[in-house]
């Protein structure tokens, strides 16, 4: 096993290695034999028409679905590797530190914006509170951890310009703010990989431009890898380092934004058969 691993030892900057991933739902093959590599400090764009299997890919990576076939290897910090397809959903967030957002926003709507970000730091705080026992008695190390967690939340609130609404229920925010909050919440888990499912959907052009710079700064400041599903071509083409194109569950193209823009298979997939003429 270890010899085999060594033989195909990936390049040092590989973050996620997707190998021959297939996901079936009864008769429907939502993902069909897809392989690609996502690198550290890069934004990997995933595009494709509706129903191409993009969200399903995320669900496999983050453990919501068990892939029918295939292997998902995450190369974590300090040489740890995780076989994501074998891990329980919540452990992927906890141990492998993959964070995600959802296509249809899933915030804790009744809780305040700040609380949403505190919940994201749950595992760290649980440890600091001695699994609640020490915390109940106001143990100093817990107080410190709580303060640090709050500072981190404030940092992200400032970065996403949500600091003014920190005490409002998350559900009461406008749509664009909710999208940003979801990203902030994912970042509060200290991820090494962040999967964003259509973060620009429903944003106006100005908000969308803001989002671009936010994502770029996440990539550059934190050195994490991003997987980005997006329909808005100005976003994907503008900020992706690498793009994977899916259609009917298959990978039909892969390359730099420029390659993709000129790829005949991609044009066909997006414009239908007529695209050829």
């Amino acid at each position: 096993m270890s010899a085999a691993m060594a033989a195909v030892s990936p390049a040092a900057d590989t973050l996620l290695n997707v190998e021959r991933l297939t996901m079936r739902f009864g008769g429907l093959i939502a993902i069909n034999d897809v392989s690609f590599v996502a690198k550290r400090r890069q934004i990997t764009g995933i595009i494709g028409p509706n129903g191409a299997g993009k969200t399903t890919l995320f669900n496999c990576i983050t453990g919501f679905y068990k892939p029918t076939v295939g292997r998902l290897t995450l190369h974590g910090d300090a040489g740890h590797t995780y076989l994501l397809e074998q891990m329980d959903g919540f452990r992927i967030g906890q141990k492998a530190r993959v964070a995600r957002t959802f296509q249809n926003i899933r915030l804790f709507t009744g809780m305040s914006v700040l609380e949403n970000l505190m919940v994201a730091q749950h595992n760290k705080l649980m440890l600091a509170s001695g699994y609640t026992v020490l915390g109940l008695f106001g143990w100093p190390s817990f107080r410190r951890a709580e303060r640090d967690a709050r500072d981190k939340a404030v940092h992200w609130l400032e970065k996403t310009r949500l600091i003014g609404v920190a005490d409002q229920p998350a559900g009461s925010l406008p749509y664009g703010d909710q999208r940003r909050l979801e990203i902030a919440r994912a970042m509060c888990t200290d991820p090494i990989m962040l999967c964003l499912d259509e973060p620009a959907a429903g944003l106006n052009p100005r908000e969308s431009a803001d989002l671009n710079s936010l994502l770029l700064s996440i990539r550059d400041e934190f050195g994490i890898g991003l997987l980005l599903i997006e329909h808005d071509m100005s976003v994907v083409m503008g900020i992706s380092d690498h793009i994977v194109v899916l259609d009917y569950g298959r990978k039909i193209a892969e390359g730099t934004p420029l390659d993709i823009r000129n790829d005949p298979a991609v044009i066909r997939a997006y414009l239908g058969e007529d695209g050829q003429e």
Binding site: F64, M111, V119, L125, S129, A166, A186
Partner: protein, 504 residues
């Protein structure tokens, strides 16, 4: 209710239609059930007595009420208000006379021979009166806009918050001093002990249902575990209440974990039926495991509560001291009752305090997050099963404490005290209180447990009114009496938040 008709004619027609429909429905409902009262004669023969008079009265009064109600909601003030008012006064007055046993009562023409039934119709009349006033106000105010609605909701939340912060301390102080006031006689304090037990149970279940959002319909099982634990420890091993209290809590928590582990993966309502089943299983086992639990008769002769080693006995065994001899007091049966009362207050307040603390801990926030969106929690790396399990176990533990208190108070336990209806009442206390609101839960317990105590004289109608009140409160305030949620931590403090709320 939303559209206010420009003239009252269509409204009257609509109301008449509703009333006609109501006549039909009331007729169908009451024809057999009320019209034919079955009686069991000697020799297992059955016969019936006709009570068509009652049916006819219902078929007249209820449709009239419905008619007036539709008018009232449509914004017509006078007819419903005047008629409703007169009926209220008349029916309630009569009921009071009837209950007071006044001879005048016999001479008043009344629909029913039971004062209580007339009084229930009186409540209906009050309802019409209130609807008329509200309908008139709505009409004057004109069509409601979304903003007005939101503002109203915000106002309600603010009221609920202020009520809680003011009412909470007041209730605590009242609870503490009441035995020393003229109203604090033995019977009242005894009833209050019961109320406080349910306050504690409500607070305990609130962790499970209100915070973690797990629908538990078998909470009483853990209460039973606590009660029987103390009973057995006391009878078999001679443990005192204070010695067995932690054991009872731990054992109940253990049961919570044992039950929770396999079933907490189930989604919402499946959990409900499994917990309900668990509650029933515990009860059935208690009934049938004669040798251990004493079967349907239960276990008696449990050591009553003592004052940290000093029993409350009139005649202490030679060589020992009792509470009153130790403190040089005259023996009084109230000593024990008052002491029980303060014990349960302390236990309940500990429950409350722990809950409030837990809410602000990471675990508490994870509970609430789990209630809101389990999928998102998993994506954040929170282990849903363990998180739910802790809520379940901690909730069960408090039920265990309350159970062993119950056993120490009663001196005997039997399966009868742990039926499904108890679970239902505790759940109702949590939901009626406004899920998650500590003061709300206390108020709901006071209402739901205190009400039947007050209504004890109305024996037959007690539970009827109880069930009806449960429905009515839910209809009146679907989110509960004091529904609001205070964030567990604030960045800007309260003042700033209010301002921000106004701005946005």
């Amino acid at each position: 209710m939303t559209a206010v008709p420009s003239t009252s004619a269509p409204l009257v027609i609509q109301a008449a239609k509703e009333a006609a429909w109501t006549i039909l429905v009331v007729g169908l409902l009451s024809f057999l059930m009320v019209g034919y009262q079955t009686e069991v004669l000697q020799g297992q023969q059955m016969s019936f007595v006709n009570r068509f008079g009652d049916v006819i009265w219902a078929m007249v009064l209820i449709p009239i009420g419905r008619f007036l109600l539709v008018l009232a909601r449509g914004g017509l003030l006078l007819p419903p208000a005047v008629l409703g008012g007169i009926a209220t006064l008349y029916l309630f007055g009569a009921a009071v006379l009837g209950l007071a046993g006044s001879p005048l009562y016999g001479q008043l023409p009344l629909p029913y021979d039971q004062p209580m039934v007339n009084a229930i119709f009186g409540v209906g009349a009050v309802f019409i009166l209130a609807a008329a006033i509200k309908g008139q106000r709505d009409r004057r105010r004109g069509a409601q806009t979304l903003e007005m609605r939101e503002a109203a909701e915000a106002r309600q939340a603010r009221i609920a918050r202020n009520m809680s912060s003011i009412l909470g301390p007041i209730l605590i102080v009242l609870a503490i001093v009441i035995p020393w006031t003229p109203w604090g006689d033995r019977a009242v304090v005894d009833s209050l002990v019961l109320v406080m037990t349910y306050v504690m149970l409500g607070w305990g279940l609130n962790i499970v249902v209100g915070l973690a959002g797990l629908l538990d319909l078998g909470y009483v099982a853990f209460y039973a575990v606590g009660a029987y634990t103390y009973a057995k420890l006391s009878i078999a091993l001679g443990f005192t209440f204070w010695e067995s209290l932690p054991i009872a809590g731990a054992l109940a928590a253990l049961f919570g974990v044992l039950l929770g582990f396999p079933v907490l993966r189930l989604r919402g309502d499946y959990l409900a039926i499994v917990t309900l089943g668990f509650g029933e299983i515990i009860r059935i086992v208690l009934i049938n495991w004669q040798s251990f639990t004493g079967g349907p008769n239960g276990l008696g002769n449990i050591t009553r509560i003592d004052f940290f080693g000093l029993p409350f006995e009139r005649n202490p065994a030679p060589g020992t001291e009792s509470f009153h001899t130790f403190f040089g007091l005259e023996f009084a049966s109230t000593h024990r009752v008052f002491f029980l009362y303060y014990v349960i207050i302390v236990l309940a307040l500990i429950t409350n305090f722990v809950t409030i603390r837990l809410r602000k801990m990471p675990i508490g926030r994870a509970w609430e997050a789990l209630r809101e969106d389990e999928t998102a929690c998993r994506a954040l790396g929170i282990n849903p099963t363990n998180t739910k399990l802790t809520a379940f176990a901690i909730g069960a533990m408090f039920a265990g404490f309350a159970g062993s208190f119950f056993a120490a108070r009663q001196g005997f336990v039997s399966p009868e005290s742990f039926t499904f209806i108890e679970s239902a009442v505790i759940l109702a206390i949590v939901v009626l209180g406004g899920m998650g609101s500590q003061v709300g839960v206390a108020l709901a317990a006071l209402l739901l447990i205190g009400l039947p105590e007050v209504l004890r004289d109305l024996s037959l109608y007690r539970m009827l009114v109880f069930g009806g009140v449960m429905v009515l409160i839910m209809l009146w305030r679907p989110k509960g009496l004091l529904a609001y949620r205070e964030p567990t931590l604030l960045l800007h403090g309260r003042r700033k938040r209010n301002k921000a709320g106004v701005q946005s």
